[in-house]
Symmetry: C2
Subunit: 447 residues, 2 copies
């Protein structure tokens, strides 16, 4: 069945079911636009925490939408995960001044009693300062770790400053702390803290670990400068929970020659529970899906394009790992992922892509203001396992991340943050690239 | 005692008490700067809800600081108020899609049971649409009222759109609604709803009344357009509570001729409980206080300058009313208030000010880029009672309100939102005006 006929059928069904005027009036083609996919997903299933019933509902939603859009082989590939189930959250400074802070638990935080824990709050200006604290010096205390992340177009603050979240809690635990709060790994100034997963190396007992909103972290830093002792009461009753259902959704737009290794385009369907999962990563799913459809709008591409809406990325890239394992012997040629918001693509990077193909890609992106970058493409978290295993060619279409970390992993990850024009620029850039690579008869994988 | 000697004494005391290095190193004059007053108040007593223990602590803080800065007759004038004591708050859409909204109760909201209330959610695009709903049409239902407030430099959206908050709940109650949620009266797009007081005319039973953050209100509007019935579960357990202690703090910088009617400069000390009370209205208190000190930095002004840090403004201007009553026979000449944030003064308005004095004020403001505006000055809420009673001259130094309603009555009213340069411009403008009016020997009150 062609895409066009599916669209007509969808429209007819909508009319027959006497759905609302607004829906009935929507042009059928609109259901294939990135903004439509993103809006509907956000409205109907938002947020979608890894391992939650909402994530399961999102897989159903994705299956139905991808089928309605004309994808083939639409399949849910289930797996189980250990995830974090949020509880009651509170952080109150009780000395030297009273402040009720905006706090959120980090994923995999330790659990406090319902009444919380209390202790001296010890200020560290940097992660290095925490690392330098003597062994045992935090016994019975709660650590606060500050940092100085600033917005960059390439998002390059997230690597180094993100280690405060990834590593800080374990380091504090190892030094005897009973809890830790960090400055949110983010670049905004709103009372919406940034969550995200932390890591506990084997043998390190998890301790309650939260992030304060940046204005609250400012207050901690301001009070710390007075030299007066600080005390914090911290309550984070959420629990790390094993054996939760998750899964990937995969769907194909078959190519004219299905024997050729396919093109894989990915995003992740799960989202943090405190936001609406729009820029992270409903946007990515809407971009890769709309772009795949656009790449075949004039007819099938030579190679099959597969979309992967991965599950459980946020808590440890479990979906990407499961895909890599399940499809280890399934031939792929090239992988790409969209997982950095909805702002415009501004540069392109390559890895292992044959130079003549890379040159064609550069040529189609040049009129769109997208510049080549000599750094090696990363590919994205969810295509990491399959790309590494099969040594796939990889292309990164780097998005402008200047405001990404204002919103990332916060309640503010909502639909209004998306600029439809920039979202569409992503689709156009992706479609242009897919038309090149999915119609390439020769070798895609280069040096 | 001169201001200078007070400052030396303060510094010496700080050193003697072996306070922190940061405090000891602070220059004594800094304690008189607006940024210092605002920072210390925010750090030490924030927020300061009307009628709360924190507001009482703020009166103690204000008394100590104003005395330390060299003010005379520093006095707390107590009164009691009926205020709103916040409880647990939750708003969950249960049909046609599940969404947990960011909600805050309006001041004087009705109280739900601990388990909340549930009902059909009925969408109204405007307050007029709610008004047009037939009598009884909302029986057993929850109303949602939308609006289209946008930022303006003069804050002029707050009047008309603010009526959704002020009047909407009573109108919904009168039509049988069991509850109401409104789009926040604000211009931002963050998951931080805007609180504020609502009004219940005699005979109108209070119903639970909350405001949704604007991204959540967007979601309600989006779902409403599908035509699918919506259901909301709303829990707002806060309570309207009578007989709570409040009070005004007044302090004078005596003039060379105390027999002349004094100049009154006001702000309010109370703040909404969900923010930190910085732009509303710690900034105002810091501006008028620093400006009064600056106006007398070169020696006493002719007239006494009185500062009024009013209590319980947010919930009904109780402090202003109490001041008007207590000081009805106390001669004043002119009143001004700062209660619109910390951004720059951009125009000046007058009411009942003698023209020659107004011309002098215009002349000193002209080099600061502050333009005269022909509209009549309002004076501000807390000086309203005394100004009306005594027919005082009034000057408004209008502040740029473009971003004021991004922050107003939200958790985001925090110290980082203040631009120190713009705060200082306020002080400079106020001091320039005070030097004119407080040194005016002739009649201040004109037509």
């Amino acid at each position: 069945m062609t895409i066009a006929s599916i669209r007509v059928a969808t429209c007819a069904a909508a009319l027959a079911l006497s759905l609302s005027t607004a829906q009935a009036q929507e042009k059928p083609a609109d259901k294939a636009s990135a903004m439509s996919i993103l809006t509907d997903l956000t409205m109907e299933v938002s947020p979608r925490m890894a391992g939650s019933p909402a994530e399961a509902k999102a897989r159903e939603w994705a299956t139905a939408r991808l089928k309605a859009l004309g994808f083939s082989n639409v399949t849910v590939e289930p797996f189980t995960v250990t995830s974090y189930v949020r509880g009651y959250e509170s952080a109150v400074l009780t000395a030297p001044y009273a402040h009720k802070f905006a706090v959120t638990a980090l994923g995999y935080s330790g659990t406090t009693p319902d009444g919380g824990i209390s202790g001296d709050l010890v200020y560290f200006e940097t992660l290095d300062a925490l690392k330098a604290a003597p062994a045992g010096s935090l016994t019975g205390k709660i650590a606060f770790v500050d940092h100085a992340m600033r917005p960059n177009q390439d998002g390059s603050g997230y690597g180094p400053y993100g280690n405060v979240r990834r590593q800080g809690p374990a380091i504090a635990s190892q030094k005897g702390a009973i809890g830790i709060v960090i400055r949110s790994i983010g670049t905004d100034q709103h009372r919406n803290p940034h969550t995200g997963a932390t890591n506990w190396p084997t043998g390190t007992p998890p301790i309650p670990a939260g992030a304060l909103a940046n204005p609250d972290a400012d207050m901690v830093a301001l009070i710390a400068k007075t030299g007066k002792p600080m005390k914090l009461s911290l309550t984070l009753t959420g629990k790390t929970t094993p054996d939760l259902p998750s899964g990937n959704v995969i769907a194909d737009l078959p190519g004219r020659d299905p024997s050729l290794p396919k093109i894989l385009v990915a995003c992740h369907l799960d989202s943090w529970d405190i936001g609406m999962g729009v820029i992270d990563d409903g946007a990515g799913c809407s971009i890769v899906t709309a772009a795949a459809l656009k790449a075949q709008a004039g007819g099938k591409t030579l190679r099959t394009i597969r979309v992967l809406w991965a599950g459980s990325e946020e808590i440890g890239v479990f979906g990407g790992a499961a895909y890599g394992k399940a499809h280890a012997s399934d031939p792929h040629a090239l992988a790409m992922e969209s997982d950095f918001g909805a702002d415009r693509v501004y540069n392109v990077k390559f890895n292992r892509l044959a130079k003549p193909v890379a040159d064609k890609v550069k040529a189609v992106l040049n009129p769109m203001g997208i510049v080549p970058n000599a750094d090696k493409a990363d590919g994205g978290a969810d295509v990491g396992a399959i790309s590494d295993a099969q040594k796939l060619a990889v292309i990164d279409l780097s998005q402008d991340g200047t405001r990404y970390f204002d919103l990332h992993h916060t309640p503010d990850d909502t639909l209004d943050k998306v600029d439809p024009a920039q979202l569409q620029q992503n689709v156009d850039a992706w479609a242009a690239v897919l038309k090149v690579v999915a119609n390439e008869p020769g070798q895609l994988i280069g040096e």
